[in-house]
């Protein structure tokens, strides 16, 4: 899975450079997020601009990261969701669980 980690205004940003998250790569995503939380500050913004498709296992991987970050007194937020991806969060009502921002600027401003 193609992932890029960067720091932005003191936040750990994870860019997902894949168009698709499904059961083939969601395990890698979950493991990467959990490693990030374990190794650094547990405050992460996952940027989903490139992601056009996410299935139940992809949502599960992000939820696992969210729960892990919360357990470490941190936070995992999301940004730049494509409309179809957003509809998946609405269908599962996970949009009420995650903080979802339009872009990274909004995410880092709101989280500061």
């Amino acid at each position: 899975m193609k992932l890029t980690q960067q720091q932005l205004d003191g936040f750990n940003v994870l860019l997902i450079n894949e168009e698709r998250i499904d059961a083939h790569n969601s395990g890698d995503l979950k493991a990467f997020i959990i490693d990030m939380i374990e190794e650094s500050e547990p405050n992460i913004v996952v940027q989903l601009q490139q992601v056009k498709f996410i299935d139940s296992s992809g949502l599960g991987a992000l939820l696992a990261g969210f729960k892990h970050a919360t357990a470490k007194s941190g936070k995992l937020a999301l940004s730049n969701l494509q409309p179809q991806v957003m509809s998946m969060f609405e269908l599962t009502r996970l949009n009420r669980v995650f903080e979802i921002y339009n872009d990274l600027n909004e995410a880092t401003t709101s989280e500061s």
Binding site: H24, S56, Q84
Partner: protein
Amino acid sequence: MQSADIQVDVIIPTQTKYLDLIGSIGERIGRELDLYSGDRDALAYQLNLVLTEATTNAIKHSNYKGPKDCVRITIHIQEDELNIKVFDHGQGFDIEAVPIPDFDNPKENGMGIYFIKTLMDSVTYTRMEEANVLEIKKSLR
């Protein structure tokens, strides 16, 4: 694409790397359905999702042995009815026993069947001697 019937029959190894292929076939079919009066982009995503979830389910339930280690997927569109069948050779499961997700306490697993049930008109799972079949139907009116 007019009202001509479409029949797609695919057999893949029980490996998740083929999910993209199966989902993409569904997405392309969804985009080409000129007669569908609803949101075709949404339908395309739903077909991608439903085929991905159903095939993931079949791979998960496969027994990983012998020459039957494959998943067969058929997609049939006849007039305004879409019919998807996903065959697996595992021990099967009771689809009626799959609970609706607890939205107040969301869990990492168990949303796949919920998506299929929610987005399609009907879904059944039948255990048969040769193979189990997950059958999904949706009206395309």
